[in-house]
Symmetry: C2
Subunit: 395 residues, 2 copies
């Protein structure tokens, strides 16, 4: 075979999100797009905010000289400074451009961070349910994945975490607001997590990074502010993107940020800049860097997502589905009415409703719904959810 065994194996196993996408495409061809209710993908239906359009028009009409050339691998200093200003505002800490590297999305940022910190065999802890690409990203850089369970509220169990941490633990990777559960970690939880990691670093004489993947930081509901890791732990980093808050997932524009008081942060940032280069990303796309520089305080109308959440939450719980009410993101993660979440998803598919089984996120017995879709799709999905609930109740 001409391709790598590991890649071949990964492709055969596939990902559930991808499988649902492909089966959905087949259903759409068979029944017509409007008769399939696809809640499987986190591809926001919203267009970027009007301010984005304005900045794009300005640059198209009055191009800056050299605005498509290479810049420093870290990104434009003006863009990094704008990100730093926003993070300082949100956190009360003093970020500067020196703590920021612009990246090709949050996926680029996370790969850069992992390449920078991992020696072969170093362990990275994640919590189920998890975004499934984390496993690929950690293994890209010869790291070892440790998957830990969460409690019934989808929060890390700190006792389990404490036991799992050992001398090879290089990082704990969290994702709050969380895909797929929609949970936002509380300030108390983050404080306890920070304290635990401090204690383990001291005990083991190692540095354990806390990395929050937070592309949904601004997509939080009911008047919430998203609690931040910055005030609770110095060895911390954030990887994120403007895929969700500015609805730009196809443009691959994001950044990584290092705690301004992180020990050895200068080496860490230099390492990240170097890895941004040698991983072949080279730099975040130039035009998008010019634009998002002006949009750090801008967000898509989150109330729209909240309205969609409320609609679906009310209807599904009314049908007997059980779930924790999402506090952010545009996902919900109800319990499957039967233990076998894959069988449940297959039933839903009979009604042309597409969702992703919890098994795809390391949490069998649940399923994920993406509600970043138009209202017609949400409304259209209700009949299928009702039929399946009734069938399973009576069965």
């Amino acid at each position: 075979m001409s391709i790598s065994s590991k890649v071949q194996q990964g492709m055969v196993q596939g990902s559930w999100i991808r499988k649902m996408f492909e089966e959905g495409a087949a259903l759409k061809r068979q029944f017509g797009e409007q008769n399939v209710f696809d809640l499987s993908i986190g591809n926001p239906i919203m267009e970027p905010p009007p301010r984005f359009r304005e900045e794009l028009r300005k640059l198209a009409e009055h191009p800056l000289p050299g605005m498509h050339r290479y810049m420093e691998n870290a990104g434009y200093v003006e863009t990094r400074a704008a990100v730093a200003t926003q993070l300082s505002l949100e956190s009360g800490l003093k970020f500067t451009a020196n703590e920021i590297v612009m990246t090709c999305g949050a996926a680029g940022a996370l790969n850069v961070v992992l390449k920078t910190i991992l020696n072969p065999g170093d362990e990275v802890i994640i919590f189920a349910p998890y975004f499934p690409e984390y496993i690929n990203y950690i293994e890209n850089h010869a790291g070892t994945v440790r998957i830990l369970p969460t409690n019934e509220q989808f929060a890390p169990r700190l006792g389990v975490l404490e036991e799992a941490i050992n001398a090879r633990t290089k990082a704990v990777l969290i994702n709050s607001p969380n895909n797929p559960s929609g949970v936002v970690y509380s300030d108390d939880l983050l404080r306890s997590l920070g304290k635990l990691l401090e204690k383990k670093c001291a005990e083991l004489g190692t540095a354990i990074f806390l990395i929050n993947d937070e592309p949904y930081r601004k997509i939080v509901y009911d008047g919430r502010q998203c609690p931040l890791i910055w005030s609770h732990y110095q060895w911390s980093m954030v990887v994120t993107s403007h895929s969700k808050d500015l609805a730009l997932p196809g443009e691959r524009i994001g950044y990584l940020a290092v705690h301004p008081e992180c020990p050895q942060r200068s080496d860490l940032i230099s390492g990240c800049i170097y890895c941004n280069r040698i991983l072949g990303y080279v730099n975040a796309p130039a035009l998008m860097q010019h634009i998002v520089r002006h949009l750090q305080a801008v967000t898509v109308p989150v109330s729209e997502y909240q309205r969609k959440r409320d609609f679906l939450y009310t209807h599904l719980t009314g049908m007997g589905y059980s779930m924790r009410k999402p506090e952010g993101t545009f996902y919900m993660f109800p319990a499957s009415p039967v233990a076998d979440d894959i069988a449940f998803i297959r039933e839903l598919q009979q009604w042309r409703v597409l969702a992703v089984p919890g098994s795809g996120f390391g949490s069998p017995g649940y399923f994920r719904i993406s509600y970043c879709v138009d209202d017609r799709t949400l409304e259209g999905s209700l009949a299928g959810f009702r039929k399946v609930a009734e069938k399973l109740k009576s069965g």
Copy 2:
């Protein structure tokens, strides 16, 4: 230390291009930008062609619905089809969208290809002088680099290549038009290379890929057409970008193409699409995909680069510098007047002229000049080149 040993080591060794960049920045601060003649970086001074501006303006004024959303990991089918049409025109073969994956630049394309084909320890052969990032890219994916010498014309020595190929050889990576030498491989050379690889595949019972990294395919001089690998070998792939032909290096837009008659090409392409995703690139930037779809037949005015080449070639050879006349790219690679190319570069720096020692490309005794700069810089550099030539002659 909190960062990976390998990354730390890589950063200490640094790259010569990077070193020159940093020392150049220091010189510019000291003497003023206009008094430093920086020929060290391949960052084209040209702006993108007017047709690019038009397409950008159109999309800014009349956005397509959903034009910034995720698309298939392979890229928009319309963009891939446009690339295929252009490649079919150039090669006489029948490319379709199915042989093309849009990528984050040529660097992204090459990393995707290497991740897709390499098992740990598989060997990739490159030829000195080489683009130094190749070593990082091959090692990113657990490959082993084999560096082979070229002849005095900077062409691979086929006898040496034949001896070097073994059962672990997974790919031969070439770069024509060549950075740093400016050489364009002849059709005869590519034919012989194809024949040799066919013979070795048959002998060894393996598949050896021929990969051409060809971002400079359209930057060729004196009425040349760039000879293509497609007609000479089926197990072939191209990785490339629009960084040079459309002057968009900061935008990270490129693609990979697989020979339409490559055996197992469907597995190969599926693998590349999968690796585009799991390496964290996810997809090539969306807006740029929409634009370059319409620009496959458009190129920056190459005659401008040819004029700059002629200017510098005439002056430098007149001073006694010896070099092969570049046939393409925007680099030249003269012999250093003294054996120690680093000492020579240091001398040049005394005159505030920046170039990169051949040692940085695996070929000591030479130096690289980038002439994708403004005329003032080219003209200003001549005094330094003359002084150093005279000093070394008289010394």
